[in-house]
């Protein structure tokens, strides 16, 4: 690509494709899914901003309830004559498949843009490969592949242009993350070019074919054996024409832009003997290697597939040099059991068909699954294999396969990146702005200089305390290196604390520059470094600079946002631009990025830029490493073998080195692993003061990370306790003479502060001091580590003795969900943890895809854990859309096995011989088991003991019946099924299934963690999003009200329904959980879950929950199905009459307040309507109560006072 300054932009692949899609579409149906969400978000934002398409109209963008819904809408829009598109990936594409067959079968021009991603198999992965698009091969869609950001832009247009002429719909795809999220400098297609490519006659023809009563036709008929087959073949000519039409569009584009593409593009020696065939971003490193080898005279080449379907066999063979002797086809997918992966079999077929006499040898290999790195060294390994006398077929590259020995050996040292490309790596903290600043830097260099620029960003799997790594390249030529930087000229560490945990200098090249954001100055910093860091700085002769970014940011009024400071320092040190030019460019970029946010934001950032260079200093580097401190190991001693051998490698960042043999063959993993990963991310941790503690247990209940624990124990258990271990008398009369301790897990706490905010015990002398207070971690770490270890060894109370339906009682039960990587202060996890405390030793959890499946099940570690006996929740995630059904399947299986076990046991008892040692007493044991009351905790424990006794007896009874019973004996003890998920699942994509499962009447419990947006994919609107809130896809405020899921469920009459909010009434939450579990039919708990997407200080989340209830926005209630209660009045309101206006609650949260500020009139209307919704609903609920009942007693909640009500009324009047 020749770079011209005109029309250049530095954008990512998603934007590159979406710009075209929006420009040439009239209807766009969307649904969020990583990594394609951004395409929908951009299209939605552009339409919201009034950006018009080629014809001057604003495309209609609509979010649907699922990808299946988006595909249906797409289909309908196309049939009715609109130019329509959608964006998706992975499972989303799978949900579109049925409609894709229809759209193709009806020869309808359309384009679906796909950020190609792995499909969930043994595990979910959000990362990129071709598994999803390969599943769409048989749909009849043409498939066009882009391998760079530029191509994602160019070929998106080729797809839209070609589909109109060809009538065959197109799937245009590029690699998820690697291309969709890579920021690169590209030449933009201007409107004239786009206009020239779109054929008006073809558009008119499309409209002519549309459904309309003026020219009625019928489509979607049902056909019989007599004609279906022939009709299916009728479209053949259209498919035969596609390759030619696509090439014609590519040629047209070339004439307009100078960028020439072909159906198959070849690079390398014209007389190549060894050729690699592949598609997607892997083309980058392959082209780099080929260029270098061919320049050295090696006869190698690479052939990149662009039009994959229809596969032009003749064009393929024509593109391959006639000298080719061996071909390696690389597939970025896996098709177990196939003769080879899809592209491989296509190539083999093409060669056999086209040159049956002299076909070259072909081998196939797999690479890059789920964004596994694909590097030049791997390309070299493939070329080596092609040169071998007997090259291996069906190989893998990029992993070590020590099981079936498919992998090629890779020697990383054989490839050095060229010096002409400057490379920089930045370590930032998730959400500290590092990535944003780096994207800005890439844009500055890409847009302002002659250099090409590339940015790629890596995140870890945790949402709290997570690390981001930015990889930036700048060079004179197009950058094809679609892999992480191995050797960097510049390394920046934006968080001092990372030095303790991570080898941030891993990529630093000899003589490179290291910039550290440090609270210690140039003369003091050295002694604060771990010895490993010191040694690397010395060994690699790094130039070492420090800047106190936090101070500069603070003094510039930017709070903790250090990104601008560090960005300025990067430019000052890297020398990519003249310093003055760089500073002017940074300011211009700031003005562009933050321009809408006001002068204050700009000025403060400008001030930070101006102060940064002066605050940066080169540090003195002594000749030898002197520190005694070592890098901190995140693995705790005593971990089980799997954790030590496998898991620890992952959390140390070395997961790539794990061989195939280390991995479970079926995705089954042990639980209880989070406790071994000590991340120690908090700066401050809560410290307990027993002198004023009132033993209420709330801190433990609300802790989102199970990092605050409460135990009650006999005083004798304190013998041998470490000095400094704190305890107090337990005040509850039920366990007289006991001691109690509230203990923090100092390395697992995220420092969110929710516990401190909920603590009701304030000092009489200083109200700011509570029974639990945040304090600097380092002042307490050693002592609290020792205390926590001791605390964990204290015995748990016997569950028989616990009053589990109370706050205190529940908190004396061991959490079997701990230390998740959820966002600090998460609003969901306290409910999940409570669930694990109440029933964790006897439940199966079906978990919908979403935040809870990520913090619950994303490797390396899982928070789901076991008690001392090894019991704990069994957890599984199926999909996003099917979670209720998945849970129902669990229930059916449990019931079937329980019922069979009971039958077998009864039969066994019937034939038991009292005189036979093996079977004597079985009859009595069977009666005890079959008649057991398992409605209480004690009953279940008793039953477990009886069943254990039975199991022991069965081992001695040699009969088929006994052996069969032994396989399902555990089912004689009651187990529960909890179906857990977020609102995106329950209200939208999974609603049909949820509805069906609730209607089934089976004994399942559904916990909806309602954050009121799609939290996991970044805050898109769901049907749970309240009226008047902004969210992605609702940039001007959601205009419709929140769906009342509880009402829908109550309509069945036999479903237990509770709406809860922990911060509003904790007792009610605990009651609702226990009642739901006790209800023998379906139960639904809708739990208000504050989320960072609400724009609140998460430390205050419980107070926001209280306001939500106090305003009547989130009324608390429990609905007992009529069969469960005596008086027939099943609906009970647990919160008092609204006592504050909705507006008071709403304006305390950025999601509403931002709209009130940006569009005050609109917000006024929506908030007034929302108040009206609340008033209406409250009236309805009061009617449902039948007679007014007072709120359930809870000492956090007081009855509405007359005075408060009066004040609320006046406030409302004044605000209106």
């Amino acid at each position: 690509m020749t770079k011209t300054r005109y029309g250049v932009a530095t954008i990512d692949g998603n934007e590159a494709a979406a710009r075209i899609a929006h420009k040439v579409s009239e209807v766009i149906a969307i649904y969020p899914i990583t990594p394609a969400s951004a395409m929908g978000e951009l299209a939605d934002a552009w339409s919201a901003d009034g950006v018009v398409n080629l014809w001057g109209a604003v495309p209609e963008v609509i979010e649907m309830q699922s990808e299946a819904g988006a595909a249906g809408t797409l289909h309908g829009a196309l049939q009715t004559g609109a130019l329509a598109t959608t964006f998706t990936a992975s499972q989303g594409l799978l949900l579109m498949l049925p409609n894709m067959y229809k759209i193709a079968g009806e020869l309808t021009p359309a384009v679906i843009h796909v950020a190609a991603r792995a499909i969930a198999t043994h595990a979910l992965s959000i990362f990129g490969d071709h598994s999803d698009v390969m599943a769409a091969r048989p749909t009849g869609f043409a498939m066009l592949s882009s391998s760079t950001v530029q191509e994602a832009h160019d070929l998106a247009l080729v797809a839209h242009a070609a589909t109109l002429r060809a009538r065959v719909p197109f799937l245009h795809f590029f690699d998820g993350f690697r291309t969709s999220h890579e920021v690169a400098t590209i030449a933009l297609l201007d409107e004239d070019v786009i206009g020239s490519m779109i054929d008006d006659d073809a558009v008119a023809a499309h409209r002519e074919r549309a459904l309309h009563p003026a020219r009625p036709v019928l489509r979607g008929s049902a056909q019989n054996p007599d004609v279906f087959f022939q009709a299916r073949e009728a479209s053949n000519p259209y498919y035969l024409a596609v390759p030619g039409l696509v090439q014609a569009e590519m040629d047209r584009l070339a004439a307009l832009t100078g960028r020439q593409y072909h159906l198959f593009d070849y690079w390398g020696a014209p007389d190549a003997e060894r050729v690699i065939v592949l598609m997607g971003s892997g083309a980058g490193p392959a082209r780099e290697v080929v260029a270098r080898l061919a320049a050295n005279g090696e006869k190698v080449g690479v052939l990149v597939v662009r039009l994959y379907r229809p596969f032009g066999t003749a064009e393929f063979v024509a593109a391959l040099p006639v000298t080719t002797r061996s071909v390696a086809v690389l597939d970025r997918t896996k098709e177990p059991g196939a003769v080879g992966e899809p592209l491989y079999t296509d190539v083999v077929t093409a060669l056999v068909e086209q040159c049956p006499e002299m076909a070259p040898r072909v081998i196939g290999g797999r690479f890059g699954l789920a964004s596994k790195e694909f590097t030049p060294a791997m390309v070299l390994a493939v070329f080596d294999e092609l040169a071998a006398p007997q090259p291996r077929n069906h190989f893998t590259v990029g992993i070590t396969d020590d099981v079936t020995h498919t992998s090629l050996a890779v020697d990383r040292s054989r490839w050095q990146e060229p010096d002409s490309v400057k490379r920089a790596v930045f370590y930032g903290l998730g959400a500290d702005g590092t990535i944003g600043a780096n994207k800005n830097s890439v844009k500055i260099i890409g847009d302002e200089t002659e250099l090409h620029a590339q940015g790629y960003f890596v995140y870890d799997s945790k949402k709290s305390g997570s690390m981001t790594i930015s990889h930036l390249r700048f060079g004179p030529d197009e950058i094809l290196s679609s892999y992480l930087i191995g050797e960097a000229d510049f390394v920046a560490c934006h968080q001092f604390g990372f030095l303790e945990r991570v080898d941030v200098l891993r990529e630093a090249r000899h003589g490179g520059t290291f910039l550290l954001n440090s609270p210690y100055g140039p003369d003091k910093v050295w002694e604060q470094l771990p010895v490993e860091v010191q040694q690397t700085i010395i060994d690699r002769r790094l130039r070492f600079w420090v800047v106190d970014g936090a101070r500069v940011a603070r003094e510039s009024g930017l709070g903790g946002r250090i990104n601008t400071v560090l960005q300025t320092c990067f430019f000052a040190l890297s020398g990519v631009l003249e310093r003055d030019v760089a500073i002017a460019a940074i300011k211009a970029a700031i003005a562009k990025t933050y321009g809408r946010r006001g002068d204050v934001v700009l000025q403060r950032n400008f001030d930070a830029v101006d102060a940064s260079v002066a605050a940066m200093h080169e540090a003195t580097v002594p000749a030898s490493a002197t520190a005694r401190r070592h890098r901190f190991s995140m693995l705790t001693a005593g971990a089980p073998d799997f954790v030590t051998r496998v898991t620890a490698m992952m959390f140390a960042g070395d997961g790539d080195l794990l061989p195939v043999s280390a991995m479970p063959v079926d995705g089954t993993l042990p639980t209880g692993t989070a406790r071994w990963e000590k991340r120690s991310i908090a700066d401050e941790i809560p410290i307990w003061d027993p002198s004023i503690c009132i033993d209420c247990g709330r801190c433990a209940l609300v802790c989102p990370h199970a990092a605050i624990r409460m135990k009650v124990y006999e005083p004798s258990a304190l013998v041998g306790a470490p000095n400094g271990f704190v305890s107090k008398e337990w005040g509850d009369k039920d366990l007289p003479g006991h001691k109690m301790t509230i203990q923090v897990a100092p390395d697992d706490c995220t420092g969110c502060g929710v516990c401190v905010n909920i603590c009701p015990a304030k000092s009489k002398e200083q109200v700011k001091h509570r029974a639990i207070d945040m304090a600097p971690k380092l002042d307490h770490l050693e002592r609290e580590r020792t205390n926590f270890d001791w605390f964990m060894m204290l015995p748990e109370l016997n569950r028989r003795a616990l009053k589990l339906d109370s706050i205190k009682g529940s908190q004396l039960a061991q959490p079997l969900f701990e230390f998740s990587g959820a966002c600090s202060g998460c609003g969901e996890t306290p409910y999940v943890k409570l669930l694990s405390q109440l029933f964790g030793d006897r439940i199966l959890v079906a978990n919908a895809t979403g935040c809870s499946s990520i913090y619950g099940g994303n490797l390396p570690t899982t928070p789901w854990t076991v008690d001392a006996t090894g019991r704990g929740p069994a957890w599984a995630n199926s999909l996003f859309e099917d979670n209720a059904e998945f849970g129902l399947g669990m229930r059916l299986a449990l019931d079937a096995q329980r019922s069979e076990a009971r039958r077998l046991l009864a039969d066994l008892a019937a034939v038991a011989d009292p005189d036979d040692v093996a079977t004597s007493g079985i009859t009595e044991l069977a009666s005890a088991i079959l008649d057991a009351d398992q409605s209480t905790e004690a009953g279940i424990i008793d039953q477990r003991e009886l069943v254990a006794a039975l199991a022991a007896r069965l081992a001695n009874i040699d009969s088929p019946m006994s052996r069969r019973l032994a396989t399902m004996v555990d089912h004689l003890v009651r187990s529960g099924v909890w179906i857990v998920g977020g609102d995106g699942w329950a209200y939208d994509i999974g609603f049909g299934g949820l509805d069906h499962v609730l209607a089934s009447g089976r004994d399942v419990n559904v916990l909806v963690l309602d954050t009121e947006v799609y939290s996991n994919t970044g805050g898109q609107t769901s049907k749970a999003t309240p009226r008047g809130a902004i969210a992605k896809f609702s940039a001007s405020g959601k205009t419709t009200g929140k769906k009342d899921l509880g009402q829908i469920a109550m309509a069945y009459g036999n479903v237990y329904v509770a709406q809860v909010a922990m911060g509003a009434n904790m007792t009610q939450v605990v009651k609702a959980f226990t009642e739901a579990e006790a209800h023998p039919g379906p139960s639904l708990i809708i739990a208000y879950s504050p989320c960072i997407a609400h724009g609140i200080d998460m430390a205050e989340q419980m107070a926001h929950q209280k306001m939500a209830a106090d305003s009547g926005y989130w009324p608390l209630y429990r609905y007992q199905p009529a069969a469960d209660i005596a008086d027939g009045h099943g609906f009970q309101l647990d919160s008092g009459k609204p006592k504050i206006p909705f507006r008071t609650f709403a304006t305390s949260e950025a999601r509403f307040a931002m709209l009130a500020r940006s569009h005050p009139e609109l917000a006024d209307g929506l908030l007034a309507q929302a108040q009206h919704d609340i008033d209406n609903r409250w009236q309805l609920y009061e009617q449902m109560v039948g007679l007014h009942r007072t709120a359930m007693a809870d000492d956090t909640d007081t009855e509405a006072e007359t005075e408060a009500e009066t004040k609320a009324r006046i406030d409302r009047t004044v605000e209106q």
């Binding site: 951004a38 997570s466 946002r561 996991n1016 997407a1093």
Partner: protein, 335 residues
């Protein structure tokens, strides 16, 4: 006969002394029109708070950035970028323009700054937007125990001087009563360029929530009969400093207004009573004012203004006495 109620305040000709002071009622065009309809002589818009602008801008900025880059699935943050944030002074300026266009009576803008740059920048903005006058709402709680009164006063003076140097429209300064020497301070402010003084500001004051033991900001509306503080100082300052005087705090009815006029007020500002009784309360007070002067055959308000000020009362010391002295002597049989 009908008394001529016309007055001059800050060089502006007002139909009478009753002015609606800064409150939610003066921040909305509908209620502003209602106030005019009810007969108010001028309006003071709510303050443009520099601190609020900065806070809102940064809050919106942080909200948009919050959570961005937290995970690969939410790399773009949790909120959509909005087309506008309205965190700057634009909304206020627009409201001022609209008020200026739609009202016949003078519109006085009000400003509360935090930095010298902010005071002058925004003062210029409000003057350019057509404000008939500007009221500086100076609000400074000198909580730093090392900061003495001289430096606080110097800060006030510098601020007034810098704004005066920036704008040409009439300038009023609204101050609180908490100076060691209110009179001297008033004089310094006039010397610094103030055309008038508004006596006095009512501040948000802290209160303690006895349930939560939290400190909560509290703004109580003034109650009738609480005009004595401005009454004293207007009476003392009348004809002693060369500037307009406006009374603020506690004016609820016509008798309050009359007393303040007699003490020397050029304008009488109302807030709490209007919030309690609505804009139409102006009509009632105005009628009462007119009636009082008519009944006593005053030719004009100008005639009455300051007639019971300290300079013009037979008992000037009365304005200086403490209540204790007064109480003691009034019960003394020898008096």
């Amino acid at each position: 006969m009908t008394t001529d109620l016309r007055t001059r305040y800050l060089g502006l000709d007002l139909a009478h002394p009753l002015v609606a002071s800064a409150s939610p009622l003066t921040g909305n065009i509908d209620t502003l029109l209602a106030l005019q309809q009810a007969g108010v002589a001028a309006v003071v818009m709510p303050s443009l708070f520099e601190e609020q602008i900065e806070h809102d801008a940064m809050a919106a900025h942080h909200a948009i950035e919050f959570g961005a880059e937290l995970s690969p699935e939410s790399s773009g943050g949790y909120f959509p970028e909005l087309d506008r944030y309205n965190t700057g002074p634009e909304h206020y300026v627009e409201m001022l323009r609209q008020a200026r266009n739609e009202l016949r009576v003078p519109v006085i803008a009000s400003l509360n700054g935090t930095t010298v740059g902010g005071w002058t920048r925004y003062a210029q903005l409000l003057a350019d937007a057509g404000a008939d006058a500007l009221e500086l709402n100076v609000y400074l709680v000198a909580a730093d125990v090392t900061m003495n009164s001289m430096s606080v006063e110097a800060q006030y003076v510098r601020l007034v001087e810098s704004v005066r140097a920036t704008i040409d429209i009439p300038l009023a300064v609204k101050i609180g009563p908490y100076f060691s020497s209110v009179g001297a301070m008033a004089q310094r402010l006039v010397d610094a360029g103030a055309d008038g003084l508004v006596l006095f500001n009512r501040f948000y004051l802290p209160d303690i929530d006895l349930d939560e033991l939290d400190v909560v900001p509290h703004l109580t509306l003034s109650s009738p009969g609480s005009i004595q503080l401005p009454l004293r100082w207007i009476a003392i300052l009348h004809n002693r400093i060369n500037a307009s005087l406006a009374a603020s705090s506690g004016v609820h009815d016509a008798t309050d207004a009359v007393k303040l006029i007699l003490a020397g007020a050029d304008a009488v500002m109302m807030t709490s009573a209007l919030l309690m009784h609505g804009p139409e309360h102006v009509t009632t007070v105005l009628a009462g004012l007119q009636r009082w002067f008519n009944d006593r055959d005053y030719l004009s308000v100008a005639q009455a203004k300051g007639s019971v000020s300290q300079l013009h009362t037979p008992d000037p010391v009365a304005f200086e006495r403490s209540n204790y002295m007064h109480a003691l002597t009034s019960y003394s049989p020898s008096h």
